[in-house]
Amino acid sequence: MRDFDPQLAEIRFGYGLSPEYAAPTDINTMLSGLTGPDLMAETYPIQDFTAFRARMVEIREQRDIRKKNRGTSLAAAARKRRNEINKEARVDMAVWVGKTMLRRAHTETAFRERIVSFWADHFTAVGKRGVVRRGTSPYIEEAIRPFITGSFDELLVEAVTHPLMVDYLDQRLSTGPNSVRAERAGNNRKIGLNENLAREVLELHTLGVDGPYTQTDVTELAELLTGLTFDERNGMKFQKNLAEPGSETVLGVTYSEAANLKTVRTALEDLAHHPATARHIATKLAIHFGSDRPDPDLIDTIERAFVENRGALLPVYEALLTHPSVWDAELSNVKPPVDFMSSALRALAVPPAAFEGRTEQFMRGLFQRPLFNMGQRWETPNGPDGWPEEDLEWITPQGIALRVSWAMSAPGRLIDPLPDPRDFVDHALGRFATKPVRFAAAAAETRPEAIGLVLMSPAFQRR
């Protein structure tokens, strides 16, 4: 079958079937769902990074108090307050895990949540130390979610210049070797260039590792980016005394000598419009939403849409959704652990009340700890390249064993009573339910086992 299919749309481009919400009726509905009012963000709010930054400001204030009043009760109080702020952030993070799950369970525009998740992964960023380590959901809320239907260059600029990315990829203190700051520091080796962000922009965010760039381009871009930094109070900023003087040449384009955000933006926009970027993004989308080995014509088609529309993202998504190969009825990609859990909550119609008044420990035991053991620590991929796409990365004995344990125990901790397993087969799998799964759901010794068996069926694990 190679036509649009509502159930397949929910499974492949969303978080699976829901007993409460109707599947989209056509591709236009899926696309318009990306641009309408953001009901899920309104209903299940997550703090944005600008608000989150107040925590970082307060931590800094408490640190200053501690430094100035060593050995006094003021310092002790400041330490206590710092620990409280850290704890509050940790507790809030557990709440945001729940909100993210609820958005996916209760959305009528699930493709929107999937697209947010795709770009959050493409622009993976995790705070390095202290309270900012809890800031990834706020970063996604601020730098990714509002920009998924604009153009790729806008999204790139928002993500790459965001304080969390600047922190994650060591850009904050990167200093031009001939900058005012370096000259003033003389031979002090504590300051200098850091090329981490520049390298990942080229390798991961834009051209891709096979792209036409060299070490010289990395170094030049790193010099061009010097000055891009942030502070806790004001967020992103350009600090001229860190900037390397003179013009830089990246991929043969020589940029303005003016060291400012505009030059950074211009360089990033050029990278966004590079043909290698179109190819890279098209390939990633095709693999993420199609399969590990997508139809080459799917990649070509998305790439063409990207180039022809200068990176405008809606036509890119349209090219993806209208390609016949993505409507192949055979389920393919394995859901990563987070998506497996999200779609389980959706199939079970877990209500928002299930998370109300829950302790942080409860949420960690239900989500973060099992995810960590399954190899998908919440919002913390191993590196800036995000989570692996290959199915075999996730179908490992340990991963599957942990999924079984979760599938058979977690639902019962969230809803009571559990649904009748015989109905649940249809709610969860729709027309993808098979005879053996129906048999198993009816033959299991206990209701939690029966629900777990349905969740462990390949028709639920793949999309």
Partner: protein
Amino acid sequence: MTHSVSRRDFLARTGLIGCSLAASPLLTPVSFAAAPWDTRFVVIILRGGMDGLDVVRPYGDPAFRALRGTMSPGPEGGALDLDGYFALHPTLAPLMPMWEAEQLSFVHAVSTPYRDKRSHFDGQDLLEAGTESMAGVRDGWLNRMLQVVPGVTSQTAFALGRNDMRLVQGAAEVANWTPQAELDLSPQAVRLLELVTESDPAFHAALSEAQILSSVEANDDERLKGEHMEIAKFAAARLSEDARIAAFSLNGWDTHAGQERYIETALARLADTLITLRGKMRGNTWSKTAVIAMTEFGRTARQNGTRGTDHGTGGLMILAGGAIKGGRVFGQWPGLGEGDLYLDRDLMPTRDVRAHAAWVMRGLTGLDRGVLESAVFPGLEMGDDPGLLL
């Protein structure tokens, strides 16, 4: 010696994977002969690019101090002198007894054939693939070694930890496991799980393997702190029995900024891992063991502007175990002076790290040099025997 074969292996050999439930006696043990060698081989991938120049510091090289500035002091700053030229990072002090017992050594200035783009992900892929380029390569060198040895079963080699490793991917059977996973199900639930996953060979096989591995006891109730210790303990237990090969990775080596602090954590984990492996192996297993730890690339010779180092080229390989010739720093030292650095930036690699891995495998398993140079590391020139093993 005989021992239990995994059901997956049994099914694979009898062509039963994906067949009917009735034909799969899940927990019926089947016996088979042990692997055709008795030595143990552990491969640790150090992900992120370990700064070899900080771990084993060439303080005797006159150019070193100027490159490092505030970082990586020699013995005068607390590093542990090894041989009058190199000094060990102080965080590895717990390994000094191993060094003195000649069960720890290093190879300096080595690298894979990977050059210039300095991407972690490509660098790691190439390190694990063991090839000159990634074109058309889908399996890892450790798996290819298993493919050329007859009698290898899924219990011969283990890949441990939460991430599957490319190193062991391929046609040969390798068991993947993490000590955190356990499957405690009723027999009925097991039967029904078999049934619902039957149509999907990949899921079915993973589940069967999980069932087998879940019943493996590490035979030691002591709880250790940290996943790396649990993995080392599990590996030691398996290697003390049937397993001959184990592979896992340790992360946290990408020290672009504040290296002094971050590398300490990674080094402490490495030291704990090696000490746990040795301590938890039973009988004389350790004396038959060679551990090699490799990283995707070294880091820049110069300290960068954020008290760290950036992605480089030449790096360090670490060897441990009772089967290795310890207490020395191997490798041809290229120097760090004017014109000695690779592209005036990185430690110049003077030998392919794969040659060292190949010589270790040759010594442990007796595999033919021709096989190592064609099937395991295609295109590699092994060169002279560096004499890494006893």
